[in-house]
Every structure is written in structure tokens, then in C-alpha cells.
Amino acid sequence: MKIFVVVGTQEPFDRMMRAIDEWAVKKGFVDIFAQISRASYVPGGFESTDFISPELFDIKFKEADIIVSHAGMGTIISALQHSKPIIVMPRLAQFHEHRNDHQLATAKSFAKLGFVKAVYSETELQQALDNASEMKPAPAIGPGASSRLIEYLKEVISA
């Protein structure tokens, strides 16, 4: 099982990284590649990089069986496009991981729609990783927005 971990281009997400690293070391599981941003915590249990080109991101995404990510739309949409199971952990303002708690609302809403597995603590994340091999992806989405939105935009653009 290959795991690709993504924290996005803005802030690091050490709380998530530490939990994954702990889990990986405990399990002796090393087939993980992580994009960690300018993190102060660099995982010892697996390979990581601060930033990643869109091309390498695509390669890593396709190779992976499971995606683990902050609740950022870039990664969530990519997972839906590639039909990969995804575990998301929202960044929280109380730990200075984001300026506000909108990722919490994103995670909850997308979990409710069955698009992601949302976890809200380090313990929940590690439990989800324990069961990751049984995760099923949500049905793949197409390459574009909903036809309703596209038709509406076309109308607005040509008006």
C-alpha cells in the first residue's frame, strides 16, 4: 500500500505529520511519500519534500493507493478526479495551522457527501491509517465543473 501525504503550499502541518510518522515507525510501514511545506517537523520514518511540482504531484498521486491530506480543496478535488480514497484532517486555528476553521466545515461537509474520510484528531488519524487498506474511493468525477455551472457561465460570457 502506497500512501501520499499532502499538506498544501501554504503552512506546514506538523501535528498531522508527527502523527503519521509515529504511526509509520510503530508499524514499520515505510511506503509513504509526503509533501510537508516549510515544516519544522521533518518525518524520520519516510521520504518527504517541502514543495512539489504539478508534474511530480500528478505522478505521486497516480502511484498512491491512499491519499492523506489537510482539508484543502486542491487535494480533495484531485482525489475525486483520480478516484483515490482520501483521509483528510482539517487544519485548526487553535494550533495556528490556519487563519480560521473553515477546513473543519469543509471536512465535515465532504465527509457527509461520502467524498472523504474525515479525521479530527491524531488518534483518529492513526486509526484511519490502520484501516486504510480497506478504504474504497468515492466514484470518480469528470474533468470539468457541473454541466449546470458550465452552461450558466457560457450564457453569462456570451451575453
Binding site: G8, T9, Q10, S53, P54, E55, A71, G72, M73, G74, T75, I76, I77, S78, L80, R99, H102, Q103, A105, T106, K108, S109, F115, I141, P143, G144, A145, S146, S147, R148, L149, I150, Y152, L153, K154, V156, I157, S158
Partner: protein
């Protein structure tokens, strides 16, 4: 007689905003599209269009924000689009403000990440957007904000 193709300036900051913008591409068919974002590396994803990179900034870094503002305005002046569309955040907001002041058609599509309330940039963009959209039906309660579908279904 030839009909002049509409020129669209499509703007998004990096990451999720950019991915959402790219999912709108089928709507741009038949138009000349110019993209603007915050990472040079994105150029390859829209290689059939012109692309401008501007400084990455948000409201927490005032100096970078000022630099980015000038860059964004310069691109809008140079490109002379008929329509400006953005999925967020700061560069899109600035492009839309400048676009509105120069009488362009402006379209704001708030990110699907904003489930409980419209983003700060989205709220600021509202008076400057010809069309102001949310991707969640429950947020389309204050006119003129409308819900017309989203980027994923």
C-alpha cells in the same frame, strides 16, 4: 464579417483555487483565455493560453499585497479582457475590483471550500462582481449571490 472572440482573464491563487478555475474551462470554449495565478509552474497546465504569474500574497502580508496589486492591475490593463472571472482569492479580488472600475464584466465564483460562509475575499468582491456565485445552495441567501452548481458534480 468576423465576430470578435471574447477575451477572458481567468484568475486564481495557487492550490485549490487554481484547480477549481481549471474545471471551468469547458465554459471558455470559443473564447480567448488568458490565465493569471501565483506559480510560474502552472503555465504548463494551460500551455494553449497566455499565462501571467504574479506575486503570491494574502491580506496578512501587506508589502507583498501591494506589490501583487500593482502586478494584477498591470496585467488587467495589458490584457484588456472583456470578462474577468475568479475562484479566489486575493489576486482575483483585485482583478475584479479593477475590472469593475474599468467597466468589464466580472464573475466571482466563491471556492467550494467555503461551506458555512462566503470567504473574506468573496465578501469583499461582492459589490464589484457583475455575477457573484457560491458553490453551496445554503449560502445563496443574500442577493445578488447566486447558486448555479459547483465545480465537482
Amino acid at each position: 464579417m468576423t465576430i470578435k472572440r471574447k477575451k477572458i482573464l481567468a484568475v486564481a491563487s495557487g492550490g485549490g483555487h487554481w484547480i477549481q478555475l481549471l474545471r471551468l474551462r469547458p465554459a471558455f470554449e470559443g473564447c480567448e483565455v488568458v490565465y493569471m495565478s501565483t506559480h510560474e509552474g502552472y503555465q504548463k497546465q494551460v500551455s494553449d493560453s497566455a499565462f501571467h504569474a504574479v506575486t503570491d500574497a494574502n491580506r496578512w502580508n501587506k508589502l507583498k499585497l501591494i506589490v501583487m496589486s500593482f502586478e494584477v492591475i498591470w496585467v488587467v490593463i495589458k490584457v484588456r479582457p472583456d470578462i474577468i472571472i475568479s475562484t479566489g482569492a486575493a489576486p482575483g479580488l483585485l482583478a475584479i475590483i479593477w475590472g469593475k472600475l474599468t467597466l468589464k464584466k466580472t464573475i466571482w465564483l466563491d471556492s467550494i471550500a467555503n461551506v458555512e460562509k462566503i470567504s473574506m475575499s468573496g465578501r469583499l468582491a461582492k459589490p464589484f462582481a457583475t455575477i457573484h456565485m457560491t458553490q453551496w445552495e445554503q449560502l445563496a441567501t443574500n442577493a445578488p449571490t447566486v447558486f448555479k452548481g459547483n465545480v465537482i458534480t
